[in-house]
């Protein structure tokens, strides 16, 4: 029997805010344990939460970017459960009235080859709500320690509809979501820092069957690749169970990305009763049109929209846009270089090949690059005008990358201007021909490749600054006469 997978993802995204969700304590990562706390974070007796407007701004922005319906009122609920990483033993969250409903994420599936654009789809969202993150437990020998630095960090939960059909779609979904969050300045989505976390609900059913199979929740998927691998593994596991005549039990499983295996954490019977109720410490907040409009004005163009525009507006191919677009800053860099140079294709080539290569080798971020769009544009213009030759241009680029000098300055400093003296070229070619009668005979006898024998001496005489095309033409003309 052929099975199809039904997958829904719950993605937690930490918002990039200066302070925590309900207090002014700093939000951050990598600080000494329990230093990002205050009486509210530690839930000292008598403390009260007060909402962070920046966090609300960011979830509204996420909702607008994803085409969600934004609720008119932001309401808070308490999710009650005991766990040592939770200072109040309840989490302030949104239960029956999430701030964002509906919406979708545009994804791109893998193409036939790396340089071929894949199919685009939309993954529908159920809801997005805001809550507070919990602390972190560190288990040692006979003792567990808790660090509350993370506790209270604004956390957005993005829930997809169960419309994802494969591990590849899940991978594409997370990739697109991450790109969008970074584009919007909503989160840095660094999975190693826990800024993006994902749980997957997976079931399978025979193709053509409408009823859903029993779902299994997969947790601890702590990289986008692990999400893909974990889902693929779970689909294989469920298929094997069903094919051997077994049944799937509703449970939560823990996926180990290192070993590619999963094990059961708990079954359905142990599910919590969270006793949700409206948080009486927080007043509902009205989200009016003016607020939404103000945030909409700060929304960037969506990445895939930008990719389509770059291809249409600049006539540059997928191979270049697929590199430029996922990084908003790189896309901005390109658009400025393209505008300044008037040659988008050439600018795109320099950026996606040379610039990214040098940045990678030097481990330098684009924002710290000494090469700016004006450098790239200047270089493109010099090559276009024939002022420098392409091999010299490569040298200019590397020099600019390290020195930060303008291309004109590098060309002047290094004397890389192309040789254009026709008399010298004529003379060097004639000398090369005169010095090699054997090759003259070979060439005239029909051996085309003999021509190369003259080129080396000419280029040596020109110290590399002769245009190979003109050398070729001159040699052919002289030999023909």
């Amino acid at each position: 029997m052929t099975y199809e997978a039904v997958i829904g993802l719950e993605v937690h995204v930490q918002l990039k805010t200066r302070s925590k969700m309900f207090t002014r304590a700093e939000a951050g990562y990598g600080h000494p344990e329990n230093t990002l706390t205050d009486p509210v974070v530690l839930a000292l007796p008598g403390t009260l939460p007060v909402m962070n407007k920046e966090a609300l701004d960011k979830i509204i922005k996420a909702g607008l970017l994803l085409g969600c319906e934004i609720a008119a009122v932001c309401k808070w609920d308490r999710k009650n459960y005991f766990y040592p990483d939770s200072p109040k033993n309840y989490q302030i969250s949104q239960y029956d009235q999430p701030l964002c409903k509906g919406g979708s994420v545009e994804i791109e599936l893998p193409g036939a080859a790396r340089n071929v654009m894949g199919e685009h789809k939309r993954i529908a969202l159920t809801r997005i709500h805001l809550e507070e993150d919990v602390g972190k437990l560190n288990h040692g020998e006979g003792v567990s320690l808790v660090d509350f630095n993370r506790a209270g960090t604004p956390l957005m939960e993005i829930v997809s509809e169960p419309v994802i059909r494969s591990a590849d779609e899940a991978f594409a979904y997370l990739t697109a979501l991450k790109t969008l969050m970074i584009y919007g300045g909503i989160s840095d989505c660094d999975m190693e820092k826990g800024q993006l976390r994902c749980d997957a609900n997976i079931s399978i059913r025979p193709v053509g069957q409408a009823a859903l199979g029993t779902k299994v929740e997969l947790k601890n998927l702590n990289s986008i690749s692990f999400v893909r691998d974990g889902i693929a593994h779970e689909i294989r596991r469920q298929t094997a169970v069903l094919e051997s005549g077994g049944t799937i039990g509703q449970e939560t499983r823990d996926y180990d990305g290192q070993t590619g295996t999963s094990q059961s954490l708990r079954s359905k019977e142990m599910a919590h009763d969270y006793r949700y109720f409206p948080d009486p410490d927080l007043m509902p907040v009205e989200v009016d049109q003016a607020w939404k409009d103000a945030i909409r004005a700060t929304c960037p163009e969506l990445p895939f929209d930008r990719q389509r525009r770059l291809q249409a507006e600049y006539g540059i191919p997928y191979t270049i846009t697929s590199v430029l677009v996922p990084d908003r800053e790189l896309g901005d860099f390109f658009e400025e270089a393209a505008r300044l140079s008037g040659k988008p294709q050439a600018a795109g080539n320099w950026i996606t090949n040379d610039l990214l290569r040098e940045l990678g080798a030097a481990k330098v971020a684009l924002s710290a690059s000494k090469v700016r769009p004006s450098h790239v544009a200047g270089l493109v213009k010099l090559v276009e005008a024939g002022t420098i030759l392409s091999n010299a241009a490569k040298e200019v680029f590397i020099d600019m990358f390290h020195s930060g000098d303008t291309p004109e300055a590098v060309v002047a400093r290094k004397g890389l201007k192309a040789e254009t003296n026709a008399e010298d070229l004529e003379r060097w070619c004639a000398e090369a021909i005169a010095a090699n009668p054997k090759s003259v005979a070979d060439y005239k006898g029909g051996k085309e490749s003999a021509l190369n024998a003259f080129k080396g001496p000419v280029m040596r005489a020109a110290k590399g600054k002769a245009d190979p095309k003109r050398v070729d033409e001159t040699l052919r003309r002289l030999l023909a006469s």
Binding site: P45, F277, M283
Partner: protein, 495 residues
């Protein structure tokens, strides 16, 4: 005895202090000496820090001297010792909630009301006893000892702010702060012959008040006169960016407002809710309250019967909402970060079970269990949601009545102070003690209890005046109209 400094009102003392006839240090010394003299019988305090209080008093005298030299005014509370219920945080002082759970807890920060009192120059004096986590009506639920009613030490002072009421009645503080969730300021004030004011919900910041039921809790003053209560209210009121439920609203000068209303000669229309004078009301209490109503009539006030038809559901709704909120609010007391921590726990779950079993008293446990139950999946709609609907109806009852009247006058408590142990074994009988006060919290209204006489046995009776939302000035003016026609408040218990 009434001549003693410790029995004087804030208004008298602030004048004595202003004229330099008394120093804050002398006043504080008088209060400390009185406390030491009577505390073995009253037991109003869980703790007090005499050296700290005396040094605060000296600092106040210095501030006053500087202000005098500079020709600037000081606040009426400058140098006045104000007792603080042991559920309101004062930086560096114990904060126990009268619970074993927090027996050794010292709070590192000031509640907003504490910060405001300090800014006004008041001396935060001692930690006043209460029913554990403010749950109770007799102060018998304290883990550290039962507070006595200064009028009869065999009897309870009421609760939960029993220590706050007893300390002011006994001359151990000039005024005090309490918290009122279902009557916890007004009922003990009535039982101790002092003034107790519960402000409108949102008038005073709750930041730094250990939450019992967040949507009902409100901090308010105990004092020896309406004027004193107004002075303290003015000092602690106002919007607080640290409490989203505190309202962004100007704080009026209450005493000026009261004086202006008195000058205007306004005749109040007062409502008497028939549902508050039925079965369960002690005849002597009823008679004293009736006499007070007659006095209002004599003053030219118009007395009208009003109806608050949903009153009979108030206790049920209250004990669902309050316990639901407390079950969640008290979840943080788990032994992980602070407070009591069981020594024999084997793992995290065991730590919760043992810590909470050892740390909480029976009434707190009863309410946590009840609250957990009413919020459980499958019961939420039948209990919590329904109770919230009842709450809306109760508020509507009051607002409907206020279309006809300016304020509502009722008994504060159905009975005078009862004997220690009398109701301790019967929680339901204890809950019924709050029958006249609970509706005010559910509706978010301001309410005040003022002395209105004594029973034949010499026990105080309180009159409750219920005001309109955020109209504390009018409420205080109505209370003052009665207060100025009698001298109940000038009687002091013999200790």
């Amino acid at each position: 005895m009434a001549q003693e400094l410790f029995n004087k009102s804030i208004s008298e003392l602030s004048q004595l202090l202003a004229r330099g006839e008394v120093s804050s240090l002398e006043l504080m010394q008088s209060v400390v000496a009185r406390t030491k003299a009577v505390e073995d019988r009253v037991r109003a305090f869980n703790s007090f820090d005499e050296p700290d209080a005396l040094s605060q008093a000296r600092a106040s005298d210095e501030r006053r001297a500087k202000a005098r030299a500079a020709g600037t005014a000081v606040h009426a509370l400058e140098g006045i010792p104000i007792g603080i219920k042991d559920v309101i945080s004062v930086a560096g002082q114990p904060l126990t909630a009268a619970s074993r759970m927090l027996a050794n807890f010292v709070s590192p920060y000031d509640a907003t009301v504490t910060r405001k009192l300090k800014a006004a120059g008041a001396i935060c004096w001692g930690r006043l006893n209460l029913d554990e986590f403010a749950m109770g009506s007799s102060t018998e639920n304290s883990a550290f000892g039962v507070t006595s009613n200064p009028w009869d030490v065999e009897r309870v002072p009421g609760g939960s702010s029993g220590g706050s009421a007893a300390s002011v009645a006994a001359g151990e503080a000039i005024a005090s702060l309490g918290s009122d969730t279902g009557g916890s300021i007004r009922q003990p004030a009535a039982l101790c012959n002092i003034v107790g004011l519960k402000p409108s919900y949102g008038r005073v910041s709750r930041y730094g008040l250990i939450a019992f039921a967040s949507s009902l809790d409100q901090i308010g003053p105990f004092a020896r006169s309406v004027e004193d209560a107004a002075t303290v209210l003015g000092a602690i009121s106002g919007h607080d960016p640290k409490d989203s439920t505190s309202l962004k609203m100007e704080v009026p000068d209450y005493n000026k407002g009261i004086a202006d209303l008195a000058k205007s000669g306004r005749k109040w229309k007062l409502g008497i809710p028939k549902e508050y004078f039925g079965e369960g009301l002690d005849p002597e209490v009823g008679a004293a309250v009736q006499a007070a109503i007659d006095e209002y009539r004599k003053q030219g006030c118009e007395i009208r019967e009003v109806s608050l038809p949903h009153t009979k559901y108030a206790i049920a709704a209250y004990y669902i909402i309050a316990t639901a909120e407390c079950s969640s609010n008290l979840a943080r007391f788990d032994g992980v970060r602070y407070g009591h921590r069981s020594k024999d726990a084997k793992d995290a779950l065991d730590l919760y079970f043992k810590t909470r079993a050892e740390g909480f008293g029976p009434e707190v446990k009863r309410r946590i269990i009840l609250g957990t139950y009413v919020l459980s999946s499958g019961y939420y709609d039948a209990y919590y949601l329904r109770a919230q609907k009842v709450r809306t109806l109760i508020r509507r009852d009051f607002l409907e009545a206020y279309k006809q009247v300016d304020a509502i006058v009722t008994p504060t408590s159905p009975t005078p102070a009862f004997k220690k142990g009398e109701k301790a074994a019967n929680p339901l009988a204890m809950y019924l003690n709050d029958i006249y006060t609970i509706g005010v919290n559910l509706a978010g209204l301001p309410g005040i209890s003022i002395p209105c006489g004594f029973t034949g046995g010499g026990l105080p009776v309180g009159l409750q005046v219920i005001g309109q939302p955020f109209k504390e000035t009018e409420l205080l003016a109505v209370a003052r109209t009665y207060e100025e026609r009698n001298d109940w408040r000038m009687r002091f218990p013999k200790l």
